[in-house]
Amino acid sequence: MKLKIAVLVKQVPDHEAMVQVKSEQELEIEDRYVCSFFDEIAVEAALNIEKNHPDAELFALSAGGKRSIDALRRAIAMGIDQVVHLGDESLEASDSNYTAQVLVARLRILQPDLVICGKQAGDDDYAAVGPMVAELLDIPHISGAVSLDTNPDLNMVNVGCEREGEIWYLESGFPLLISAEKGLAEPHVPVVTRVMKAMKANIQNIPLNELELHGNKPQGRIHRIRYVEPPSRPEVIMMQKPFPENISELVNYLQEKGILS
């Protein structure tokens, strides 16, 4: 069996980028964007499958504004040649249902055996698009994958996924969607020649009006009312006494606070 694998990627602010609430309607985000952490793991996981099954066919898809192109360039740099950019800036404010609908509109045409996405995106931390895509495609999904053994000859895959305090190993046939947890694969640093190739690549865009979206609207089910500042923590209280008296000093504070009985 020749496996067809689609990887879903997204460009998000770097973890270290400054993000501030400017107003209820606006965030100020430092211009440092990267391919989302878990999405790079998803790309690498697909490349690992290709190593064992060289006839596998790999695609990367990204739905969103112009920035998505950079996530796709990263996928190319890492080793995926066929990439598609879906939609436009209007997707930046869409709910996860709409994003999933846009991706699925294309996935229905590609008909992959395996879809791999990140466990959650590094911006809205929503962890919803993957399972939603699976439901729209009417295929099973496994979230938080940490291991993946494919056996295309047997039409089988064994996926280890992280549960609270446990790893579960599940068996499935194809098609299947999995979302990548840290540990599934170790993203490699792309070689210079691939980076050059990625920079020069002409990236295909499919506009929203060419996708079958069944009347879904960008904020049809959820709309954002406002942004708010995160709660702030008061100034730290440092223990003043020398060791070991500072230990009882600390325990006293915690007892006063009612946090230790």
Binding site: E16, A128, P131, E171, H223, L250
Partner: protein, 324 residues
């Protein structure tokens, strides 16, 4: 009984209802009371005793008593809930924990019900006729408040965000439900492996003691485990420690690990760079022990102690023991 309902999806782990399940009732009653809604517990699998203990918190428990649901399995749970909706009608709200199963189940359900879903919520309330949820974004560097327009509104609630309500007047009925499943739902559970050494599980624990590279060696985590036992805490760790193979990934706290909100988080020998902070900054009280007074962790803590973790931990354990 009001005809409008809130469903609370219960979870059982290691033979008990989880603490997060009890916290969900905190969220449920907050929004139920304002609109005169009924709070209904939904239990998939489990024992009669679990259903009865849920009934202490809800006016009704829908107990899907099926041996196939004994261990959570995404597709089976999903089919069970969907069948329940078809037979009982749509509730106004469905609440689940932001646990691995809740996060798997709820987005799918949102698509099936053609409705809205908000994940990792830290608060929910009514604004007029709309339900609004607050949730952290950008790893907690900002929060957003979302209105869910359609019914049922689906939420996963972050562990630690709500307190367990006390003195509930309820002693609800248990309605046992049997469903039929097709044998082949796509996925088959082959094996389960435990990955934690501590009794407490990280995302459920009220107290977490975490160690970083400052502990010096994997062996020194024994000290931390002893302290954890004294505090009935779970053990957490930094990524550096996990990447060095000292501890397993499911103990990792941070951006690429778990996001937790215990009542008390104590960090030993953890530098506290943003990636780590993003995983624990919603803890109620944060304590840091680090030998470097300039360590960034102190900027995100309530209490700080400059010192050698290896000296501090055993003394702290002894001190706590002596005060019991």
């Amino acid at each position: 009984m009001a005809d409008k309902k809130i469903w609370v999806i219960a979870e059982i782990r290691k033979g008990n209802l989880t603490r997060s399940t009890s916290q969900l009732f905190g969220a449920a009653y907050k929004i139920a009371d304002q609109k005169n809604l009924d709070v209904v517990g939904v239990l998939m699998g489990g024992e009669k005793s679990h259903a009865e203990s849920l009934a202490q918190k809800a006016s009704l428990v829908l107990w899907i008593n099926d041996p196939g649901l004994e261990t959570y399995e995404a597709t089976r749970y999903f089919h069970a809930i969907w069948q329940l909706i078809e037979s009982k009608g749509k509730p106004v709200v469905i609440l689940a924990s932001a646990s691995s199963s809740g996060l798997e189940l709820m987005p799918r359900l949102a698509i099936r019900c053609e409705t809205g879903y908000a994940s990792f919520c830290v608060d929910i309330w009514w604004e007029g006729s709309e339900l609004v949820a607050r949730r952290p974004i950008y790893g907690g560097r900002a929060y957003e408040e979302l209105a869910l327009i359609k019914e049922p509104a689906l939420f996963t609630i972050r562990s630690g965000a709500f307190s367990i309500p006390g003195n509930l007047p309820n002693s609800g009925k248990v309605e046992t439900i049997t469903l039929t499943f097709s044998d082949d739902l796509g996925l088959k559970l082959i094996e389960r492996k435990s990955t934690t050494s501590s009794k407490q599980e990280l995302s459920e624990a009220e107290c977490v003691v975490a160690g970083g590279r400052g502990l010096g060696s994997p062996e020194n985590f024994k000290l931390l485990e002893e302290l954890a036992q004294e505090l009935d805490a779970a053990v957490g760790s930094s990524r550096a420690v996990v990447d060095s193979g000292w501890r397993s990934h499911d103990e990792q706290v941070g951006k690429s690990g778990k996001t937790i909100s215990p009542d008390l988080y104590i960090a030993f020998g953890i530098s506290g760079v943003i990636h780590h902070i993003l995983g624990m900054n919603t803890s109620k009280v944060i304590v840091a022990i680090n030998k470097d007074p300039e360590a960034p962790i102190f900027r995100n803590s309530d209490y700080g102690l400059v010192g050698d973790a290896l000296e501090v931990i055993p003394v702290l354990t002894k001190e706590l023991r002596s005060r019991r």
